[in-house]
């Protein structure tokens, strides 16, 4: 085996080819910087394409369609998933989806002349990184600007025996062969809630357990209440305020013991108690970067670390750990590093949660709006007020608009099918600085779910009228 030590020189080095790294690399290349991107996987896309967003959303799509078909057929079609259904059979399109997305990302890098290396990196100093390749060869890279975007992986707490056979994490659950007869999910964050609603929609009895009083606690409580209602309608449940003692396979089933003495038995268990940054092999200390107590890379508002020419973006900097946010962080980091202006529009980044039904938000919450403006106008549109929702058989949605006392839109919060698409209407309104009047005065297609904006705006305007009259 040849052990070759060659030093290469690049303007920009990006570690990790996931959403944030990919965006940062392309941003740098577009302004003519000689750019290298290094990833431990052979294809671009990171966890998003290989194990996270793309695979889980492919499974979700099948579950959502089956659930939607069940709702629309109203008993005409018997839409039941047989026991022992192969999970793979529900994700037949995954390989094609993954390949096409990974290829597209790779082609974008090629088109922009970004050099791609398949290897593992570690810092030797604040400007020099060593890359170890699968064939045991080693190269050194010197770069003026470095972006750390190595992503994250599932956390494995000591009290949960993840064996990838009975107790799974968010990676291994996607390679589960058969749908389990029962599933316990530990955690109440995005990953826990997405998988809970997917498996419940597929007919698996699901119990979600966490110490938090409600799931997705960073969201508007009205949205999470509806999430729990739909979960319960599909045979799932959320056990709130439960402290986990242990969870492990005990021969017959996975036994999850809670501090109140409760024992939950299930065929499988998903441990979704957070993620840890992929920094263990990077030796960031060699570059002079210390991690936060939670193991993330500390950055300022421009994604810059304590070392001025080293930036970090995506999951390595901690929550919200969402692909769309990671893309924006990568772009923002590189633009700042290159001295390019970051526009205000990029402040309005939506959050998309692919539960069934979807949840999405953009802008301020009701609480944040009141804190900032003293009071806020709140308008609601229940989907059971919309003709299209009745046609679709999906009436459990809600759109909530938050506006300043003068009517200027500040935020939107949506739960319901299509929420991750619907939210973009509000995003553009926020970018344009529009007020509620824009939704009231303009005509939307009928019948559509977007009509919810008009219904919610009228609801909020009524409050404003009442306040003015008072």
């Amino acid at each position: 085996m040849i052990h070759e030590l060659v030093e290469s020189r690049f303007d920009v080095l990006v570690l990790g080819a996931g959403p944030s790294g990919h965006k940062a690399a392309i941003q740098a290349a577009k302004v003519g910087k000689r750019t290298l991107i290094v990833d431990r996987e052979p294809a671009a896309g990171g966890e998003c394409v290989q194990r996270g967003t793309i695979p889980s959303k492919t499974l979700r799509e099948t579950a959502a369609y089956l659930m939607g078909l069940r709702a629309r057929s109203e008993g005409v079609l018997d839409i039941a998933i047989p026991p022992q259904t192969k999970v793979e059979s529900l994700m037949r399109r995954l390989k094609a989806v993954r390949t096409s997305h990974g290829t597209l990302l790779g082609q974008q890098l090629d088109r922009n002349h970004v050099t791609q290396w398949h290897g593992r990196a570690r810092f030797l100093s604040e400007n020099i990184v060593e890359v170890r390749f699968p064939d045991r060869s080693v190269r050194r890279v010197r770069a003026d600007l470095i972006v750390v975007a190595t992503g994250s992986r599932p956390r494995q707490p000591d009290n949960v025996q993840v064996d990838h056979e009975h107790v799974l994490d968010s990676d291994s659950i996607l390679s589960m062969i058969y749908l389990p007869s029962s599933l316990t999910i530990l955690g109440s964050g995005v990953i826990a809630c997405e998988f809970a609603s997917i498996y419940a929609a597929l007919g698996v009895p699901v119990k979600v357990v966490d110490s938090a009083p409600r799931p997705l606690s960073f969201l508007d409580p009205e949205l999470t209440l509806r999430y729990v209602q739909v979960l319960e309608q599909t045979g799932g449940s959320y056990l709130a305020g439960k402290k986990l003692e242990t969870s492990r396979w005990e021969g017959q089933s996975v036994v999850t013991r809670l501090s109140d003495g409760t024992e939950l038995l299930a065929e499988k268990c998903l441990c979704a108690l957070g993620r840890v940054a992929n920094v263990a092999d990077l030796d960031l200390a060699a570059a002079g970067i210390a991690l936060t107590p939670r193991g993330h890379v500390p950055v300022d508002e421009n994604m810059r670390t304590v070392v001025p020419h080293i930036y970090a973006a995506g999951d390595v900097v901690g929550p919200p750990s969402l692909a769309a946010t990671a893309v924006e962080q990568g772009r923002r980091a590189m633009r700042h590093a290159l001295g390019l202006a970051n526009h205000a529009a990029s402040q309005h980044v939506p959050v998309g949660i692919y539960t069934i039904p979807e949840i999405s938000t953009v802008g301020l919450s009701e609480e944040q709006a009141i804190a900032k403006h003293g009071s806020a106008l709140v308008g609601r549109a229940r989907f059971d007020e919309l003709a299209r929702a009745h046609i679709n058989g999906q009436t459990h949605g809600l759109l909530k608009l938050i506006a300043a006392p003068d009517g200027r839109l500040l935020g939107a919060h949506v739960i319901g099918e299509g929420a991750t698409e619907l939210v973009h209407v509000a995003q553009m309104a926020l970018v344009g600085g529009l007020s509620l009047d824009a939704f009231v005065d303009n005509v939307f297609n009928f019948p559509t779910l977007a009509e919810a904006y008009r219904v919610a705006a009228i609801d909020a305007e009524a409050q404003r009228a009442k306040r003015a009259a008072a």
């Binding site: 022992q84 593992r120 699968p134 064996d163 056979e165 291994s172 062969i177 396979w249």
Partner: protein, 285 residues
């Protein structure tokens, strides 16, 4: 066992005769009744531990074999397992299915008159591969469900090909050349015969796909990754059972290593499991 590119192929005439015999005359070994019931139970969502215990109770020989394996160092029980109920409770239905199948296969399938040493060698190879397949899946954060079984069965076609070759009238002269011809016959037919066997026994479709394509995982369709793990386990087992082999002897440039995106430290971690895998083979002996 990995096929070797240096081995001479079976002469065309012999290849065609054996192919015809396998297709038209050879009767595939039937899975013993108890093992077949255990396999069916493990795939039946309505069945429970008590059903499995009842089936095993009716076959004292298989039951004692399963208990012996469950008590071996490979499964390291914290306390001796003295009953089937305890074994099922401690190890779970899937593991008991795998152990029952292993015990049955060894007695029924890995038999060929005059080829006892060859059968023992193939069996040990499969048992070690089973242990490596399970640990490879675990290391890759893939579901290990089924990986052990795929490793155990990946070469199940080999003993059957030997049986067919010895049984086919006039095929082999049974002379000094026989071992070479048997090796060639196994290399050429074991994947498809193994897959037929696994299908005939009612095991899952993906198991058959892995057995059929463990030398060319890309042909296993949606189960390419599982087939790739079986291929790697095949290589690891071959390496582990080669006396005096050291880490440098492992073919880490094999396509399976690259396809699974294993780095040198990942391979080294798997090679370090050699003793554990050999212990598993010892338990299944």
């Amino acid at each position: 066992m990995p096929s070797s590119p240096t081995r001479a192929p079976l002469p065309l005439e012999l290849h065609e005769s054996l192919e015809l015999y396998l297709a038209e005359h050879f009767v595939l070994p039937v899975l013993p009744e108890t093992a077949a019931r255990v396999v069916a139970l493990a795939q039946d969502p309505a069945s429970g531990a008590r059903d499995l215990e009842r089936v095993l109770e009716r076959d004292p020989s298989l039951a004692s074999h399963v208990l012996r394996i469950a008590n071996s160092a490979a499964f390291a029980p914290r306390e001796p397992i003295v009953s089937l109920q305890q074994a099922v409770s401690r190890l779970g239905m899937t593991t008991i299915r795998d152990l029952s199948l292993a015990a049955s296969l060894q007695g029924r399938v890995y038999r060929a008159a005059g080829q006892e040493e060859l059968m023992r060698t193939i069996w040990a190879h499969c048992a070690v591969a089973a242990a490596f397949a399970r640990e490879t899946a675990r290391r890759m954060r893939r579901n290990v469900e089924g990986a052990f079984l795929c490793g155990l069965l990946h070469d199940v076609g080999r003993p059957v090909v030997v049986q067919a070759a010895l049984e086919a009238p006039g095929l082999l002269q049974k002379d000094a050349n026989t071992p070479i011809l048997l090796d060639a016959a196994m290399d050429e037919f074991h994947e498809r015969v193994g897959a037929r066997l696994v299908e005939a026994w009612g095991l899952a479709e993906w198991t058959a796909a892995v057995v059929a394509h463990h030398h060319a995982p890309e042909r296993a369709g949606p189960y390419a990754e599982e087939a790739c793990i079986a291929r790697l386990a095949d290589l690891l087992s071959h390496w582990a059972l080669t006396e005096g082999s050291c880490a440098e002897d492992f073919p880490e440039e094999d396509a399976a290593v690259l396809d699974l995106n294993l780095y040198p430290e990942d391979v080294e971690a798997l090679l370090a499991l050699r003793d554990q895998a050999l212990l598993c083979a010892e338990a299944l002996r």
